[in-house]
Symmetry: C2
Subunit: 402 residues, 2 copies
């Protein structure tokens, strides 16, 4: 018993030790996405990554990049399984391990909410890219706030970036960007995965972007009392799914416009007019952005769609987009639109799935043909992934509130 107590107390108190003893012996270094002390996964200067997991009794272990290679790991004599990848594109990549058929997180990685669960990611550094890491510049704060929503009937959690100096400049008021995550992710994505706070810290320090507040809320909204349909067996795009999507989108819009925006405007020193309010989002968040902003041009004057502009029809490769009728006719008069909307920004990675890329490229050419002022940004060599969206934000934010 003494020995066991000792062990328990030792475990409980001294797990701290794992923070400090890890050392490396070759050119591979632990990934920045690892928990402290974890030597694997690790990355070398050629963007190859090595993974290692203990599974002494398993018969098959696979490394499963959600977008990327699926690799068999090799069992070593010590019960660990290892694999070295080919060079990987830079950026932050979701992965799981498949251990005898069980898809699980890598115990060596921090967890990131994506794919509707806390999953593993590995950061592959992009050579020379410092814009999304903590530099020697003033840092803003990221604030967790809770607001009670009459739309969803529960306490909702949001993150709010306040720029450097917000507390010191007690009389200053700031414009606001509402910035939404994608499907399967949540309000933490733009900070944990995207490093939106460091991107803005760096842009503000170099005076490339105006100091602004960024609000990140949970795009997965369900109206109080709503019972969702059972979609099991229904195909993607089925009428039942579209109706459920629409219901969720409308609940999100109502929560945002009726509860969240008033909450932010009364709890932060915002400039609360449409000229100082922007909205952008990625993927699902991009679709939500187009829905909310075009429904409520009285509230917004800057619009950004990152790999998710337009609506469901475009996502499905529909080529019938018509600037005369789309978005309740808001684009029909390009001169009036340019006066009313200070920025319409759409972006896509060159390596995104073909229909996604085609849909957004089509929106761009349709806007061009109709002479609707907008920015079209293609992220070279990146897919439907966070490296695309970090670049999007870096291009988008400096165009706001100028």
């Amino acid at each position: 018993m003494e020995r066991n107590s000792m062990k328990t107390i030792g475990m409980a108190i001294l797990l701290l030790s794992s923070c400090c003893w890890a050392q490396n012996t070759d050119s591979f270094v632990p990934a920045s996405t690892n928990v402290p002390g974890a030597e694997y996964p690790r990355v070398d200067s050629g963007s190859r990554a090595q993974f290692r997991v203990k599974a002494p009794d398993a018969t098959k272990v696979k490394l499963n990049f959600w977008s990327g290679p699926k690799l068999d790991m090799e069992k070593q004599a010590d019960g660990f399984w290892t694999v070295t990848t080919p060079p990987l594109p830079p950026g932050l990549r979701y992965y799981t391990l498949i251990i005898d058929g069980a898809e699980v997180s890598d115990p060596s990685s921090y967890a990131f909410y994506g794919g509707s669960k806390d999953a593993s990611m590995i950061e592959i550094p992009e050579s020379g890219a410092t814009y999304y890491s903590a530099q020697q510049v003033p840092h803003g704060q990221v604030r967790e706030v809770w607001y009670h929503s009459s739309v969803t009937g529960d306490w909702r959690h949001a993150l709010v970036y306040t720029p450097p100096g917000y507390d010191e400049q007690a009389k200053m008021r700031y414009p606001v960007l509402y910035l939404q995550h994608g499907g399967g992710e949540d309000e933490t994505g733009w900070i944990r995965q995207g490093h939106a706070n460091f991107i803005l810290d760096n842009l503000i320090a170099s005076k490339a972007a105006k100091p602004m507040i960024i609000v990140m809320s949970n795009g997965n909204a369900r109206r109080a009392g709503y019972t969702p349909p059972n979609l099991a067996g229904k195909p993607f795009g089925s009428p039942e799914m579209m109706k459920a999507m629409q219901e969720m989108s409308q609940a999100f819009e109502d929560d945002m416009t009726q509860v969240l925006i008033p909450f932010i405007d009364s709890n932060f020193r915002t400039i609360s007019d449409r000229d100082h309010r922007a909205m952008a989002g990625l993927s699902m968040g991009g679709m939500q952005t187009f829905q909310v902003t075009f429904d409520r041009l009285d509230l917004f004057s800057y619009i950004g769609g990152f790999s998710g502009a337009g609506g469901m029809s475009m996502m499905r490769g529909d080529q019938t987009f018509d600037t005369k009728t789309a978005f309740n006719g808001a684009l029909a008069d390009p001169a009036a639109f340019a006066k009313r909307v200070h920025l319409l920004w759409i972006g896509v990675g060159t390596e995104e799935p073909a229909m996604m890329h085609a849909g957004i490229a089509k929106l761009h050419t349709s806007l061009d043909e109709a002479k609707v002022a907008h920015i079209f940004y293609e992220s070279p060599g990146t897919a439907h992934e966070w490296q695309t969206w970090r670049r999007d934000l870096k291009d988008f934010a400096p165009r706001l509130f100028q």
Copy 2:
């Protein structure tokens, strides 16, 4: 390709669907620690829990509570493994799954940083206990801040709770509680696991506690340039380990007193004298608290040790504690101590490991015998776990700054 693109886009955008369709058919309900949409693990009114994981090709799957039962799961025909636990004590419990020898997180649970990794936890509700959940009261904010430390040589991340009304009461200044996590955990523990913000929201709303700022920093500190020793093979409590512990503790103390406190005092509206500064911590954080506060009684006047008061000697069951010489003699004159230190608070759960309980109980009786004013709190029926520390904070916080 079209079909695959469709599938990819569908996956990417419509993972949202998993947020909304889960439904239950019996008296078990999904645990509050689950990711949205996950039906398992689930808990019934008798505090039994059911777990379920897909591992079609595994030969053995175990449910592994770190403190609690280790249970074999049973394979079902559909490739899922399931188990129902006996009734579990209320509170938040760490667990992992062991799948053919691989210790991994449950994909259905949110990840919580503990045991030096992102692990799974399940919340077993305590009947009638509302003090640590979000109630219909004003909520404070939890702010992420980054500060550059000349002691550790890097950017450090801390969380700061600001009480309800902090931004509105622009002239008001607040006392500060520095609140530390335990070994293997980090600065997120008191919010994610402990719900310290909701505990304070509720105490402040009922006027049981004064509005205060709470600062939670990372207790795992390493001095810039320090190379830790290789402790492989060294026994618990070895001179090498004690020296490494001491080095880490001193780096933490220096970071806290030389960098963090000045940073907080210059970035938040604190009352920056010792009468309005408290420190408490759990387990390793309790030991750090006693070290830092007794070294620096010029900075602190409220002291709390949650399952980790005293020093390493007590943790090891050493019975030689002497109030005349301990803590640099600070307790030698009880009257002078009571004047100088407004609160000395120690707590322990009745079900903690025997030596932990004995060490803290011994500290209590020694203080009693020497007539050193202090509070001793025993949490009934709880062990070295978060339910103990939530109760500790609920008892401790109302005694501060009165």
